[in-house]
């Protein structure tokens, strides 16, 4: 037991390395994803705004990471007073 403990104590660096590799892979993914959401949000607002007036605060873009697939949820509130036309607004 003492020997085992001794061996374990000596080799903590591989543990540090493994923990860091797993953590950083996850964290890099998170950072990239929040960038993706920001870019998507801007482009979606720009697109929708060509047709209807949108309030920037009423546009929500969310990515939910699942095991096998992730979902992208876009929620845009459009005021009823706005006339919706197929032609782009000028």
């Amino acid at each position: 037991m003492t020997l085992f403990k001794f061996a374990k104590r000596r080799g903590s660096a591989p543990m540090a390395r493994e923990r860091l590799q797993i953590l950083l892979e996850y964290e890099r993914c998170l950072t990239n994803q929040s960038d993706l959401v920001t870019v998507l949000r801007e482009e979606i607002i720009a697109l929708v705004d060509r047709y209807v007036t949108v309030d920037r605060d009423k546009v929500q873009v969310r990515v939910d990471r699942g095991e096998a697939v992730s979902t992208l949820a876009v929620d845009i509130e459009i005021p009823n007073a706005t006339p919706v036309s197929v032609a782009p607004r000028t």
Binding site: S12, A13, A16, R17
Partner: protein, 271 residues
């Protein structure tokens, strides 16, 4: 035209200020004109490490706000005449730093010096972002320890997103300086080794600074470690790193206390 370098890390206490002072001194000792700039507004320490704490009259914030001219705020080192310090303000906070003001000061410094080395505050907030903003290249100081490596990874991400160079779509040059390294402990598997850290962070290595008592002694004296004891292992490691910054091809070895013997780690060279 100067090269602007930011010394950054994310985590505090890893050796940014020691590194700024040592590399600045080493480059200036070679005759090049160097300005070290303290960006840690409110918690300045570069003045203390350089032994210039009693000579500060005007600071970076005074220059940014137009209360003083750059030439009035620059402090010329008494030992190395080509080394200057632009101190941070101790009484203000980071909100006093303005984006345009920093851009103007850096542009002015570029005309006067060969090297402008910016000592970043810890963290990833405004002060740290402004310190890296106009840099041409970054030195990331890391200790062989999990929290330091994690924070370095975060800072690398910020360097690729928040700097002027990155916004222009250019590649931000980054290199790693591993400080407080203990080759014996790493060899025994008690400490992350150089290869582990390089594999995790995947940026080129600028230098390895071994753990050394001389670093504390140098800060006690207010003298850059390259001057306080030029033959110490830390001083030799910093001098090698400075030569690599200068574009020289210096073999990556960890200076050892054993006289005349260099512990060669591996044949890796700085990029």
């Amino acid at each position: 035209m100067a090269k602007v370098i930011v010394v950054t890390s994310g985590k505090g206490g890893v050796g940014k200020t020691t590194t700024t002072a040592a590399l600045g001194a080493a480059l200036a000792q070679g005759g090049q004109k160097v300005c070290v700039v303290d960006f840690d507004v409110g918690l300045r320490n570069l003045d203390l490490v350089l032994g210039a704490e009693r000579r500060v009259v005007y600071d970076l914030i005074n220059v940014i706000q137009g209360a003083a001219k750059l030439s009035q705020a620059l402090i010329r080192d008494k030992r190395i005449e080509t080394l200057s310090l632009l101190p941070a303000s101790q009484t203000r906070d980071k909100d006093a730093l303005s984006e345009e003001g920093i851009a103007r000061v850096i542009a002015e410094l570029r005309k006067l010096f060969d090297w402008v080395i910016c000592d970043s505050p810890a963290g990833i907030e405004r002060g740290a972002i402004l310190a890296m903003r106009h840099a041409d290249a970054a030195i990331i100081v890391t200790n062989p320890e999990v929290s330091s490596v994690r924070d370095s990874d975060r800072i690398i991400g910020m360097l690729d997103a928040k700097t002027v160079k990155a916004e222009r779509g250019e590649r931000m040059d980054k290199c790693l300086l591993i400080a407080r390294y203990d080759p014996a402990r790493a060899a025994r598997g008690e400490m992350l080794n150089i290869e582990d850290i390089l594999e995790i962070l995947s940026i080129p290595l600028l230098g390895i600074i071994p753990e050394s008592d001389e670093v504390l002694r140098a800060s006690n004296l207010g003298t850059p470690v390259t001057l306080s004891n030029a033959s110490s292992i830390a001083a030799r490691a910093y001098c090698d790193a400075a030569r690599r910054l200068n574009g020289e091809d210096v073999e990556m070895a960890i200076p050892s206390d054993r006289k005349g013997l260099l512990v060669k780690l591996f044949g890796r060279r700085a990029a």
